[in-house]
Subunit: 313 residues, 4 copies
């Protein structure tokens, strides 16, 4: 079987954890590297969280790279109100991981090196702010020419924000609008984006989730523990079901047919609004630069997620 | 029968013509004044176009007021590419109207005076850029307190623009973002907005329209002549049906039950973006200041429009 | 003697008080109206403060008009930290003035009416945010054609702000950037601006001021009382001398020769910056629309101010 | 003699040529690297121009690094109207240089590597848009901690722009406002900036320049040829004297005492204005992060420049 080669650029983050676990659970995936970026929490927390996930999955062989400590234009925001002080639901009692196992090469340099050494067959998955990828582009304008494709969790299609202050922007784009702008305008390989509004349109039933949370494999127990705080928030917000952000990007990267409806558009990023800074704005008038995944086969998605936790790795 | 008292602030404009004709055709409506604002075309053209419509409808008794010649922040744009050089499909051969019949009072002053003289029972309809209404508010912060309600054609709910340059804003709001901001934040009476995306979701069949265009009353012949250029554009753009913008605002003002689905939100206007200047941005976190009309009973709408043209006035 | 006819649009304010007192002290000036605008404090305070000053000067015959209660784009800021809670150093013990003596006509309407009734010989002085004048322009685009000139206290020439938050804008322009933009772009009569940097370059000695503060006429006693808090602030800020903002605009309006150095430039206003919103930006490339008063004859200025307080009015 | 170790980041550019020539002419300077960035012209032209200058100076031993091909937010502008199509007055007949002598390491990586290998004794000179340095900071947040200081040609102190479109920003900052923002906020070593207004305040006499242009050393002949077009422009603009931009930054780096007046301020960059995007905005309220060089000893400066051309290298 031809494996799909992946680099996952993440800001783990609870759903980044799910995304990584999903990627590691698939025989058809080969995770070449995980690169870490400031976002949901600071990049040192992100590195530690990735190592925690790799440790739980017995995959400490995968190289982890530390990347940018700030967005291009620093703003000091994060999403720790949602993901916890450590970015992963405050795993204070979890055994410490060995931070020395982080590679010394910078994430952006590593992305360029690995892609340059490849046969043009790598899929880059961006599930955090796109700072690392943007810096990689400035170091190497030809990055996109040697990528198979890029799958992004982020951006908007209908101006619906998920930032607390009434912004019209999605978190990953809002965190580094300039980086998102650079990626959309310059990465030049096929880009598939799973937008915030697409997330909102796919709810997964609480019953389904509950079954997963009751599984007693090591991975499932870790996953359940991390999700405990999230469920309270979903309850409080009276959401009609659970939402899957970052793992959907991994699923799309591995099985593009999971996308049952999509649209090719020209998309850019508003850099200058007060409420719309970071909003993705698309139109049909210019040459398309991104495929918006609009609908996902949730049955397949549920199977993919359920399979992650069934057996010990 | 209790009549609904209306002031119509417009930038006529092809669909403003339809809106005025609809209002004049209804027994349940009493049009107290038509106020003119720069928008689709310059305000002098707007005044002339309104007089043309009133003339065709034999309603030269309705006072017409000239208002602002520019948006608060002047930009020099209009929509003459769509509405014609004169704002009404280039009615060069149409008999001249008597521009001296325009009132000398400024539109914004007239709105304030008429509303102040009323019993608080006036519905203000804004189907152009909101400059006149914004200036009225600065002259009289209590304007909204003496209005029954305000119905607006304009704004966005999903960041879909209708400006040629890839902007995420709807034309009326884009033409005067500061005015739209002032109206949403300060008018303080019930505001109902029929957004651009709501327009896009309601198409009217070409067969239905064709029948209207074939009617041979004076009003219908005038209407058909004005629409001739529009139909070419709709063809060119391969639209699935005809769209009704401004007349829907009048219909909502007269029969709020025509709105079959709506949502109360807090809405504001982005003033500072490059692509999103003028975009309406809404959220559920703040106290609602506007009702978004999302779905319209198109059967009733079609009956209302058809009725306009059936008989001579 | 031909008198210079003045309309003073102000947001009194401590230095607005000085400006009004200066105008009233001059035989060569005829103050036709004082119009009030939101700025240093809310417009009701401004009206009251103007009446207080007129009362102290025995000039209750001058009509006072209330204008806009907010900037075009409301922001909720004022300068009460500097001018006191009431905008005039907290004159709590001062005898109440009769607010019913405020005219019922809106300031912007009054400006237009008085100018239209004139022989084109009126000088408009703007020493507050320019909201009233901007609204007057939207009501009457020809306002400037019937003005002799307009003298403004406000704007920047070197990006030096006087707002607390590190902004590069001067207070009056910062308070209503859109209004300042409208006035500069559309008022079309000769405009003279005394910018914040020009203020900074003219310091008046503490000794000179101390003598004025010791005068015992009614006006001087009132003036001294109002200035008591200001002097503390000047001390705290270690300013090399006293600064005269608004009264300099009046002096320029009455005696243009007091300007010993000036420059004609094209000036506009930045509306969209985060730190520079409201900054006046000028260049030599476009057709000049404003004369920047750069240097003032401070000897004449001191004589003018000293004369205000010498005799009882 | 202790030599001052320099890395020169440039966008050569006519005055970058002068800056490099000045640095190479000084015994007290050791140029460790020249790094190239998109700015006056595209980065490939910049690389070629640097090699041309090194070749003329017989210093092909100095390593040259190619950096960013675009600003962080790409805009497609350059200054070829001033510096020529090739960025160096269209040296079409000049012997071709060997572009293979450009190092393969990216400029931003090279800056970090060289600084990391140093004893903290390197002065970084930025005389182009600051993109390379900004990317270096994102790769290595500690860059500034290991720098002795950084001297920048760029930014504003009085809102006077040198961009053709009436902007209030200086070219280098205007070309990459986000990069300038990152450098000012994050480089954390002593930063000295020679602003555009400081340039404007120092004119060098035409007589002095004429003598230099008549020298017949190889370097002087090359320099004269490159300057031929510039002199026409200075004539056309009726400038009172010649201006020295980039070489002044080198002079400051080597002899800080050449600065006879300076001011420590907090400076940041406006990222969002329409006319002020890229404007440096400073105040005295926050902790200083930059020293503004306000006045320069022009006698010393003239001696330094004259010396460059006197003898063959
Ligand atoms: Ca994430
Ligand atoms: Ca309209
Ligand atoms: Ca004032
Ligand atoms: Ca340069």
């Amino acid at each position: 079987m031809e494996k799909t080669k992946l680099i996952i650029d993440c800001d783990a983050g609870i759903d980044d954890m799910q995304a990584i676990m999903l990627a590691l659970s698939r025989q058809e995936a080969e995770v070449l590297a995980i690169t870490c970026v400031n976002g949901n929490t600071n990049v040192d927390n992100v590195c530690r969280n990735v190592l925690r996930v790799l440790s739980v999955c017995n995959r400490m062989d995968i190289p982890v790279y530390k990347g940018c400590t700030k967005a291009l234009v620093d703003h000091g925001k994060n999403a720790e109100f949602f993901h916890g002080r450590d970015g992963l639901s405050d795993l204070d009692d979890h055994p410490e991981v060995d931070l020395d196992s982080i590679q010394t090469e910078h994430a952006s340099c590593a992305i360029n090196r690995i892609v340059n050494e490849s046969q043009g067959d790598i899929t880059l998955i961006g599930i955090g702010p796109l700072t690392n990828i943007a810096v990689a582009i400035r170091l190497n304008p030809d990055l996109g020419k040697r990528l198979k494709k890029c799958v992004i969790m982020g951006g908007n299609t209908e101006g619906q924000g998920n930032i607390e202050d009434g912004s019209a922007a999605e978190f990953n784009f809002h965190c580094d609008p300039e980086a998102a702008y650079m990626v959309l305008h310059e990465l030049s390989c096929p880009i598939i984006a799973f937008s915030w509004e697409a997330v909102l349109k796919h709810h997964y039933s609480w019953d389904w989730l509950r079954k997963i949370l009751e599984i007693k494999t090591t991975k499932a127990i870790f996953h359940s523990y991390v999700l405990r705080t999230l469920l309270d928030k979903h309850n409080e917000w009276r959401l009609p079901g659970f939402m899957l952000c970052d793992p959907t990007a991994v699923a799309i990267a591995l099985h593009e047919t999971i996308v049952t409806k999509s649209r090719d558009v020209f998309a850019t990023v508003e850099l200058h609004g007060r409420l719309s800074r970071g909003q993705m704005i698309s139109n049909n008038r210019h040459k398309p630069n991104v495929t918006l995944a609009q609908e996902i086969d949730t049955d397949i998605m549920m199977k993919l997620i359920s399979n992650v936790f069934k057996e010990e790795s």
